[in-house]
């Protein structure tokens, strides 16, 4: 399981190549040129509010954003898992992001949005009240995360960026989707 992702260097931009494609000489030349043009790597973030805080997920990890659709509760699963939906035939678990981050529970009213994300083969939907928009920030601008969530949830944070007076916390999607420990504890 890939626990920590390096913050430096290899961060990929929004449209990434499929993993198995072999790199050709042309590709190498192209990337070199690109790097010359823009020294700074920009990352695209989708921002939204959970509770009182502003959070963000990297756009490259997002499949789509859908309006709330009724989900089927799954019995006997952790609280933050609200249930599953069937999105064009794919079964997708819905995570109450607020509860996942230890910031209380979302009262589901049917006006929420679901950010469908993926990590590897896994898909999941993060349920949030609303989304604010997409911003581009320089990768170098990402700083260490302040304590906006309870300490035991710190693993879910990648870092923080300042954007127009706002402090936006970037979430670690792969950790959010990893429930192996919770399940172990439950057993």
């Amino acid at each position: 399981m890939n626990k920590k992702r390096s913050k430096k260097g290899g961060r990929k931009t929004a449209k990434e190549a499929p993993p198995e494609v072999q790199v050709t000489l042309e590709d190498l030349l192209e990337t070199e040129e690109e790097e010359e043009v823009q020294q700074q790597t920009l990352i695209e973030l989708l921002t939204f509010t959970v509770g009182e805080e502003k959070f963000a997920l990297e756009v490259s990890e997002i499949k789509e954003i859908i309006k709330h659709i009724p989900f089927t509760p799954v019995p006997r699963c952790p609280d933050f898992l609200l249930g599953v939906i069937s999105l064009r035939g794919e079964i997708i678990p819905i995570i109450d992001l607020r509860s996942r981050l230890g910031l209380g529970k979302t009262t589901v009213e049917g006006e929420e949005v679901i950010i469908v994300v993926h990590h590897g083969e896994e898909s999941a939907g993060h349920l949030v009240k609303n989304i604010s928009g997409i911003i581009k920030v320089e990768e170098n601008a990402v700083e260490l995360a302040p304590e906006v969530v309870p300490p035991e949830k710190a693993e879910f944070l990648l870092g923080v960026v300042r954007h127009q007076e706002n402090l936006i916390t970037i979430l670690n999607n792969s950790r959010l989707l990893d429930v192996s420990e919770i399940i172990k504890n439950a057993d």
Partner: protein, 668 residues
């Protein structure tokens, strides 16, 4: 695009293709090795088997070379060299050769497995050295053959014979067989088929040493072949059998007919068969799409019926109805077609088990006949994969615990050779695999005692045999007082059960002391699309896979009794434990308080010998569903096997009958 999660788990597709091909080749090697062993011990012809082995090792070497898999290449190469020497008669075929080949096969198999999980193959240096040394040391000096010069064969022909063909020729002459040259014309268009047909006829009564295209054909639409044929039939019989045929037959005496090179027409650019190899993932994908279509079809049918009820039978609604019907029919065909492409004969696996039986019985000093039937029975590729370990285990158990030693058997007035039978057959929509042995049977009292000692069964209670036998499937349960490295460690039977129930199958054991044991595994023919009974509990809909549903009944709440605080009902003299789905899943009962409900619906589900009654609010008919996984996040939720949707974007949970039964039996 999915990312490579763990880094390194994704194999390049070239390797994947190679693995598929390698698996095929290994399977062929295995079969040939078994045949070789048989024929060697019964003194039958072996040269064509050696040839097959040689060819397949050669192919494997080539493949491995292309992908620079050095370890596999080197092994295949060493085996090829050895086989080449054997087929040229330079090394005598004996137990030692057979053993090396078998070990080589095992090493190759292990390497293939290691590579398939992304590991590094082992070079087996010591083994390689052993083969090389053995090959070098065992090669006999070939004697210059005056036999050939004495023959009435054209020098030109003799010169064109390959080393192997020459060796076969001498071999045949040494065996005092008669030699003929058969010259026959074939049409140019179909000569390969015709020639192959002709060759197989000749092979049935002798050996075709060489096949030589001959230039003498005058008719341009025809091609002439000279076949050098050795047979033990006498001249008269040969003359009779070729009577009236358009072929020239010349007996080769001590003088000279014709001959030429083994221009290998059989290994021309055309491939041998019309089959296509497909990655199972592609088929999975196809099946998923078909699954989606099935859902839409059902939905469309509903809409069409609704239109008819709403608007009556006008032209449009009837037209729609007709089209939906046609769609249904064709989709059904498509679905069946896709499922069929995933089906492979179970015989593939039986061959491997054959080998295990031989090895183990030899090691344990038991004499065992292994009979198989129904090899052609087809099962979903995935089901077969999942069944490999369970079957292996059951067979091991049968050898280790079932069949007695020859001495014991004689004492019990049984034939000293034991029999293990493996059979597969279709039964309705299921496939049944049975493993039967004529060994000692399972000592039920012993099982009962151990279960009581371990506190799994209440002491002094009168448990049914079936219930006692079901203890065998519990993790860590072993009746064997000695632990061998073959079985008896108490792991295994629970694995068997888990794999079987993961496939939504059932397992049953019947045993008779002194007479033997029969284990039958009942499996669904395919996994992806299943029939399910839809049930409603509180406000939630659930799907119960129909193959685990035995019956459903309506009872009144008065019939429910309590035994040790658990709800049960009496069903045909058996006590059936109940499980209230709403309690189990903490569903809020929306209709009314629980005692108010007078009518209860019970869905009786069964897995192997276990029965459980699921209490639901209502039954909502049978549907065809596609089971989908809940994903990693939810995979450990007990009692839920997956989810499906009925085309209205609402996910419906599919109950995991096995999980529910386990929950209940654990809590008792």
């Amino acid at each position: 695009m999915s990312r490579n999660k763990d880094g390194g788990m994704t194999l390049p597709s070239s390797i994947k293709n190679f693995l598929a091909e390698l698996e095929d080749l290994l399977e062929k090697l295995n079969r040939d090795l078994l045949d070789l062993e048989d024929n060697l011990s019964s003194g039958k012809e072996t040269h064509y088997i050696i040839n097959n082995l040689f060819r397949n090792c050669h192919t494997m070497k080539g493949l491995a070379g292309m992908l620079s898999l050095k370890e596999i290449g080197a092994l295949a190469h060493a085996l090829e060299d050895l086989l080449d020497a054997v087929r040229l008669g330079k090394i005598d075929l004996g137990q030692e050769v057979l053993e090396i080949l078998t070990r080589g096969y095992e090493h190759l198999g292990r390497n293939a497995k290691v590579i398939s999980i992304g590991g590094k193959a082992s070079a087996h240096k010591a083994f390689l050295r052993k083969i090389e040394e053995f090959t070098a040391a065992s090669i006999k000096e070939t004697s210059p053959d005056d036999l050939l010069s004495k023959l009435d064969l054209d020098d030109e022909i003799i010169r064109t014979l390959t080393e192997y063909e020459e060796h076969r020729l001498i071999e045949n002459l040494n065996n005092k067989r008669n030699l003929y040259i058969i010259s026959k014309e074939f049409t140019f268009e179909h000569f390969d088929d015709e020639l192959n047909g002709y060759l197989s006829r000749l092979k049935s009564d002798g050996e075709v040493i060489s096949t030589l295209p001959s230039p003498s054909a005058e008719d341009h639409s025809k091609i002439r072949f000279d076949l050098l044929w050795a047979t033990s039939s006498g001249h008269k019989k040969v003359a009779e059998s070729f009577l009236g045929e358009e072929a020239e037959i010349t007996a080769v005496q001590q003088k000279s007919p014709q001959e030429k090179d083994k221009s290998s027409f059989s290994s021309s650019l055309r491939s041998f068969s019309d089959t296509v190899r497909v990655d199972i993932k592609r088929l999975d994908n196809l099946l998923n799409i078909v699954g989606e279509l099935v859902i839409y079809k059902t939905k469309l049918g509903e809409i069409s019926r609704e239109i008819i009820t709403r608007h009556g039978m006008d032209k449009t609604s009837l037209g729609l109805n007709k089209t939906v019907k046609a769609l249904e029919r064709n989709l059904d065909l498509l679905q069946r077609g896709v499922i069929e492409t995933r089906m492979v004969p179970i015989g593939q696996m039986f061959g491997k088990l054959h080998r295990i039986v031989r090895q183990l019985s030899r090691r344990l000093g038991k004499k065992i006949d292994f009979t198989v039937s129904g090899e052609e029975t087809e099962l979903d590729k995935l089901v077969i994969e999942e069944m490999a370990d369970p079957l292996l285990h059951l067979i091991r158990n049968a050898i280790d615990h079932g069949i007695e030693t020859p001495q014991k058997r004689r004492k019990a007035k049984k034939p000293s050779r034991g029999t293990i039978g493996l059979s597969a057959f279709q039964k309705g929509h299921h496939i049944v695999i049975e493993i039967e042995d004529d060994g000692a049977g399972i000592d039920i009292n012993r099982v009962r005692k151990i279960a009581e000692q371990k506190g799994l069964l209440g002491k002094g209670m009168d448990h049914e045999d079936k219930q006692v036998l079901s203890m065998l499937f519990l993790p860590g349960f072993s009746t064997s007082s000695t632990i061998s490295d073959i079985s008896g460690r108490g792991i295994g039977m629970d694995v068997v059960k888990n794999n079987v129930s993961r496939l939504r199958g059932m397992i049953d054991i019947e045993t008779e002391p002194g007479r033997g044991t029969r284990t039958s595994i009942t499996l669904p023919m395919t996994l992806a699309i299943i029939q399910a009974l839809m049930v409603k509990v509180s406000d939630s809909m659930f799907a119960v896979p129909i193959n685990s549903v035995l019956e459903s009944l309506k009872i009144t709440s008065g019939q429910v009794q309590k035994v040790e605080d658990k709800e049960v009902i009496k069903l045909r003299d058996r006590v059936l434990p109940l499980l209230r789905i709403d309690d189990f899943f903490n569903l809020e009962s929306s209709q009314n308080g629980s005692p108010g409900k007078d009518d209860l619906y019970i869905v009786v589900v069964g897995l192997a010998e276990k029965r459980l009654g699921l209490v639901v609010d209502s039954l909502r008919g049978q549907r065809e569903i596609v089971i989908k996984s809940l994903g990693n996040l939810l995979k450990s939720v007990k009692g839920i096997a997956g989810a499906t949707d009925l085309g209205d974007r609402r996910a419906i949970l599919v109950l995991d009958v096995n999980g529910l039964i386990q929950e209940v039996t654990h809590s008792i």
